[in-house]
Symmetry: C2
Subunit: 154 residues, 2 copies
């Protein structure tokens, strides 16, 4: 029941970002969300890269777009890193969010309280909260935080 | 276990907002987060007012600051409504977030999947997802969304 609620909220958050992306142009997305702050393009790439890290953390295979890591996770905006076009990022968001949603929907209920792959069995014995549900919740809150910023471009 | 994870993430989100508030002055908080957008003062009042609605939704008594409702929930920023000072809002945030955290920590586990007070028993039979856990999750995501905006004032 609680899990169902989390997955409903995940879907609502993804729907909200999809709606927002349909309301702003590529030109708007390339703007800074506030003077001197990150661009919408950076924040969208950052959300995609952070979220798809869950594919490996859940032991569900490799990242779909590992090339995003350098530009959107390891370096700040405007570092001179090569970035995909807004159109390419929109496509990556659609495909990676769909893949993750499918992964979560099909994960057996008992799997959610198991450790993620970045924590060892020994550490997990002492820190049982480092489980899959915690990863999803914190990434979802991270997404909401940055979507609030992208929404300023409307 | 899942509930424990949600309460951990709630605490982390509140800690993040507390840290942010300690880093920005009252003058910064009174600024717009981006040109022509909401001020930090409005967003903080909006978070407090939305969150403390959970006191009534959880059947835990009246709102602590019902006077916030008109300025921060029913009308947009810069409507000419009277607003508390930044200092008063900081105090309201501290007190209301502590009261809510205590309410959630002490709520019996089985209560979380029960309906909230804004849904009737008949409606709840058809829409069992309209429970307390769903209210907390959506308010928490709402908070993260606006905290991302307030963070632009740093």
């Amino acid at each position: 029941m609680i899990l169902d609620s989390i997955l409903r909220n995940l879907k609502a958050q993804n729907d909200q970002l999809n709606r927002l992306l349909s309301q702003i142009s590529d030109e708007q997305l390339a703007q800074e969300v506030a003077p001197g702050k990150n661009t919408g393009v950076y924040l969208l790439g950052h959300i995609i890269a952070a979220n798809e890290g869950m594919l490996t953390l859940f032991g569900a295979g490799d990242k779909m777009y590992p090339e995003l890591e350098m530009a959107f996770l390891r370096t700040p905006d405007k570092s001179g890193q090569e970035m995909p076009t807004p159109a390419a990022l929109r496509d990556m968001w659609a495909k990676s969010s769909a893949a993750l949603q499918e992964l979560f929907t099909n994960l057996p209920a008992e799997e959610w309280s198991n450790r993620h792959t970045a924590v060892s069995e020994a550490d997990f014995a002492n820190e049982p909260h480092r489980n899959k549900i915690n990863v999803l919740l914190s990434r979802l809150l991270h997404q909401a935080y940055h979507v609030g910023q992208i929404a300023l471009l409307k």
